[in-house]
């Protein structure tokens, strides 16, 4: 037996594992670049365009007090110096210290993180299950009453302010019928209203995309072939079509994670859910600029990380993605 040139060369002469490694490295590098640029944008919009110390102290504060706070926060240094130290600090995990709580921002954020993770995960789960099912059934019964109701319902879900939906649900289920608590944390029943509220927008997006994606997949020749083989409609829909129809939905979830984070801010505010969103609105009310800035940095890192994971998951599901492109 002659020695194979390389054990991981496929029939096409492509090195499978190194290609995957290159893919992951390229995506990670791209994510890092995006993150650096996002931090740069956030930095310059906040520091260069604003006068944070004045905002924190109010218009009645003396100029000396403003200057002193600027010195304390290092905002009196030249912008390039501030920028370099901001990026350096962020990369080494130093997120600064909150003015209001006199604690490290990162510790404050990580304290609150589990609550937000719980809320967003529950919301995402509701959105995927209900939205996916709604989209699937609408696609299978195009033009039916269910399809039209789903179409109108998702249109409304995509058009309403989430926090308003939360207020209305709280009014209805907590005040009128007294079925569920409108605030609080710790038990499962506390999670229901905030999670349902937060799921709204993403649920609408997932339902619409699943429907469109299912309809286009059901037109593919391989579905006709499966049908010709006498495979039942239910099996075709769930086993053959759904797998491919789910691909764009996976990408959507990554993109929508930013929407979930933004939504979490107002929804946590409405339900007094003690997560990062409530920390954000508290920081805003206290004009705690260092904490607000740390929260933005954290949000951008989360977004980039989630999308990196989604990209890799996508590549794992769909081998076409990780094939190197030519030309």
């Amino acid at each position: 037996m002659t020695a194979a040139p390389s054990s991981n060369v496929t029939a096409h002469g492509r090195r499978e594992i190194p290609a995957l490694g290159r893919f992951i490295a390229a995506r990670a590098a791209g994510g890092l670049l995006t993150l650096l640029l996002a931090l740069t944008i956030a930095f310059f919009l906040a520091r260069a365009a604003g006068d944070p110390a004045r905002q924190m102290l109010g218009s009645l504060a003396s100029d000396q007090a403003v200057a002193a706070l600027n010195r304390q926060l290092g905002y009196d240094r030249p912008l390039p110096v501030q920028y370099v130290s901001f990026i350096g600090d962020t990369l080494t995990g130093n997120f600064g210290e909150s003015l209001r709580y006199s604690r490290a921002n990162l510790a404050l954020i990580l304290d609150r993180f589990p609550a937000t993770l719980q809320l967003t995960a529950a919301a995402l789960l509701i959105a995927i299950v209900v939205g996916g099912l709604l989209g699937l059934l609408s696609a299978l019964r195009q033009g039916s009453l269910l399809d039209r109701i789903a179409n109108l319902g998702t249109l409304v879900l995509l058009s309403l302010p989430l926090f308003w939906l939360g207020l209305m649900l709280a009014e209805l289920f907590a005040v009128r019928f007294q079925l569920l608590p409108a605030g609080g944390y710790g038990e499962f029943r506390h999670l229901i209203l905030p999670a349902v509220t937060l799921s709204g927008y993403v649920l609408g997006q997932i339902a619409r995309l699943t429907r469109a994606s299912m309809i286009s997949v059901l037109r593919e020749p391989y579905i006709a072939l499966a049908r010709a083989h006498g495979i039942g409609a239910t099996r075709i829909a769930f086993v053959h079509a759904l797998r491919n129809a789910a691909l764009p939905v996976v990408t959507l979830i990554g993109v929508q994670s930013g929407m979930l984070m933004s939504g979490a801010v107002t929804v946590e505010f409405v339900f007094a859910w003690p997560g990062i969103g409530l920390l954000t609105t508290d920081a805003v009310l206290a004009r705690d600029v260092p904490l607000v800035q740390a929260l933005v940095v954290f949000g951008a890192i989360m977004f980039v990380a989630i999308n990196l994971v989604v990209d890799l998951a996508y590549a794992a599901i769909d081998p076409r993605i990780r094939a190197p492109r030519h030309g």
Binding site: L167, E171, T280
Partner: protein, 300 residues
């Protein structure tokens, strides 16, 4: 079920299933059915000072927190009820529409100008310019919009101008992304090559020949963007970083009404309904415009 189809929905489904039976301009009915109410609302908002409605600022503590006309204790004086100072909610909604719509339109237009210019540049010039602009677009989209808005507003202070700028900054990347990919395809068309050979300058090609060809896409995009901006403004005002008293927008009304919601649900219900209704109409208008101008939309 089939008989219950609205004319717009009928045109849509005809377009998606049988292109040969399509009316000449699918979506026209939908554009008119949604565009006219929106125009009427905008006109009423602009004309609010001269309309025969109660004064939105008139304080009347005697009729404080009176409910809408159909609820117990409501009256025709204040059809949608009053707030804690006895001010007419309907009139305040119309006045709130002024600022809500003004902010939405100006930031949409500002974002569209910046985003379209950068998108056309990236798509037309390609190479490093495209790389740089595309990375900035990605970076911009990587910051959750509310967090970015909060950063700017806390550092900069609140004013209507700042809100417009913030919402434009949040919106530009969306235009840039879509327009860029649109121009990338357009660029390979023979007429562009012809213009280049004829010696037309890039600026002339971009603004005189590329721009008119992407105008339809831009119109649809900007229409839908107005809806997003209204939602973003309401969220910003709700957490106290947008429009604040004595100015009123629908978001600010929601923020004010929240504390009184248990005793006066209408203070929260109606501004929210107004936002939802307007954004629904804008979405439908956008879909109608897409069906009317984009021949590919029907096939999907």
């Amino acid at each position: 079920m089939g008989e219950a189809l609205s004319p717009a929905a009928k045109a849509d489904s005809a377009a998606s299933t049988a292109p040969h039976r399509r009316v000449r301009h699918p979506g026209t009915v939908q554009v008119l059915a949604t565009g006219i109410p929106l125009l009427l609302l905008a006109a009423a908002a602009v004309a609010a000072p001269w309309l025969p409605i109660p004064d939105a600022g008139a304080i009347d503590l005697g009729s404080s927190l009176s409910p809408p006309v159909w609820a117990d204790g409501g009256g025709w004086d204040h059809v949608l009820g009053t707030d804690q100072l006895g001010r007419d909610l309907g009139a305040r909604l119309l006045w709130g529409a002024r600022l809500t719509l003004l902010i939405a339109f100006s930031s949409t237009i500002l974002g569209a100008i910046v985003g379209t210019t950068l998108g056309m540049l990236a798509g037309y010039v390609r190479g490093w310019t495209d790389f740089a602009i595309s990375r900035v677009i990605d970076a911009q989209l990587a910051i959750p919009f509310l967090l970015l808005a909060i950063t700017i507003m806390t550092a900069r202070g609140q004013s209507v101008g700042a809100i417009v700028a913030v919402l434009a900054i949040i919106g530009w990347a969306q235009y840039a992304r879509v327009i860029r990919s649109e121009v990338l395809t357009l660029r390979s068309r023979p007429f562009i090559l012809g213009l280049q050979i004829a010696g037309a300058s890039p600026a002339r090609i971009i603004f005189r020949h590329v721009l008119p060809n992407i105008a339809d896409t831009l119109l649809v995009l900007a229409t839908l963007q107005v809806g997003y901006v209204i939602l973003a403004e309401s969220a910003l005002s709700f957490i106290g970083l947008g429009v604040t008293s004595p100015d009123i927008s629908w978001g600010a009304m929601l923020a004010d009404g929240r504390e009184l919601m248990t005793s006066a649900w209408w203070l929260v219900a109606f501004p929210g309904l107004a936002i939802t209704l307007v954004v629904v109409l804008i979405s439908l208008l956008g879909d109608g415009l897409k069906a009317r101008y984009d021949p590919r939309a029907g096939a999907r």
